[in-house]
Symmetry: C2
Subunit: 203 residues, 2 copies
């Protein structure tokens, strides 16, 4: 069986949580990085015009969260029961809401409206989410869910460079429990190994 | 055990897929509709300042997709195995991307930039997604995944009035397989029963 082939742009961003989970799962994978010039020709051949996509045994699947959940289950970092999966999924969804909020600033093509979004983002939205996520980690023994490593932790830490880059500062700086969680995830041998060998990119 | 209490604004939108799945699951639930004037006082007391939320046995959970997946699993409209769940989750994520794309137009607070977004949305983005979703339904025996009803179908049909309202036209009009899927979902007795008794709202 050929190893799964993950196609994405030559950045971390939305593919990095998948690369974290695949690495944690011990899955050998092809880390296919598409240069921007090749994307317009490739785009109509993808299922929904977006990356990342993953090819497994000739089938192509989409959506970062769906792919992460699939490999998380295989490698023991999904929930132990339906309720725990609900808590993990809710956390991943909340982190994705935070990503959307930061992205709504970063990807605004209109310079005038973009500039106006930055202050409320940095002074209100990001602290609102981060204070609550910090509290969640405090109350859950240093992880997002039930005192143990789950793919919600890998999702957050995998996205973090992307979130920080879009927000233009380290969004974890005032949150010691989140920072400790980040250090713990990056110290997991499989994650540490991946981070050491991955191509250096800004975000 | 008290029935789960679903809190949302007095509209369909993001809560309607949950109401569909709860109805399909045969779960009695409290359909708590928050009037806009009460929301500012309630918002800081919610986990992440957003609705819908669901209270189950004194615990409060968030995120529409997470809640739908939880009850879908209980009621036999989740996947039969991890691979089928991946296909369902990917479809739900794609439909959510379409929702985000339509929402980026609808919720744009700047009238000038908003107006410019409408043509590309209606002429390019929506057809791009809908043509591919139509093809997916054609290839999957009239459903989104593997020729049978899953919560991906309920997710789409539950959101449809909201999507149509934001897009200002019926996005399914040119897609006969999607329209047939919509009719099938609305003919499921539990869904039909819910739709007959729910409060009438525009979207």
């Amino acid at each position: 069986m050929a190893p799964p082939k993950l196609s994405y742009f030559p950045i971390k961003a939305l593919a990095e949580p998948i690369r974290f989970v695949l690495s944690y799962a011990g899955e050998e994978f092809i880390d296919n990085r598409i240069i921007r010039d090749d994307w317009p020709a490739m785009k109509p051949k993808t299922p929904f015009g977006k990356l990342p996509i993953l090819e497994i045994d000739g089938k192509v699947v989409t959506q970062s969260t769906a792919i992460c959940r699939y490999y998380a289950k295989k490698s023991g970092i999904a929930g132990e029961d339906d309720w725990e999966n609900l808590l993990i999924d809710a956390t991943v969804g909340t982190i994705d809401d935070l990503r959307s909020a930061i992205g709504a600033y970063h990807y605004d093509a209109n310079e005038e409206t973009k500039v106006k979004k930055y202050d409320p983002l940095v002074k209100e939205t990001i602290p609102f989410y981060m204070e609550r996520l910090e509290k969640q980690v405090e109350e859950n023994g240093g992880y997002f869910v039930n005192g143990k490593l789950t793919w919600a932790d890998l999702w957050f830490v995998g996205l973090l460079d992307y979130l920080n880059s879009m927000a233009k500062f380290d969004i974890t700086e005032k949150y010691p429990s989140i920072k400790a969680l980040k250090d713990k995830v990056l110290a997991v041998p499989a994650i540490k190994g991946w981070v050491a060998k991955r191509p250096a990119t800004e975000f």
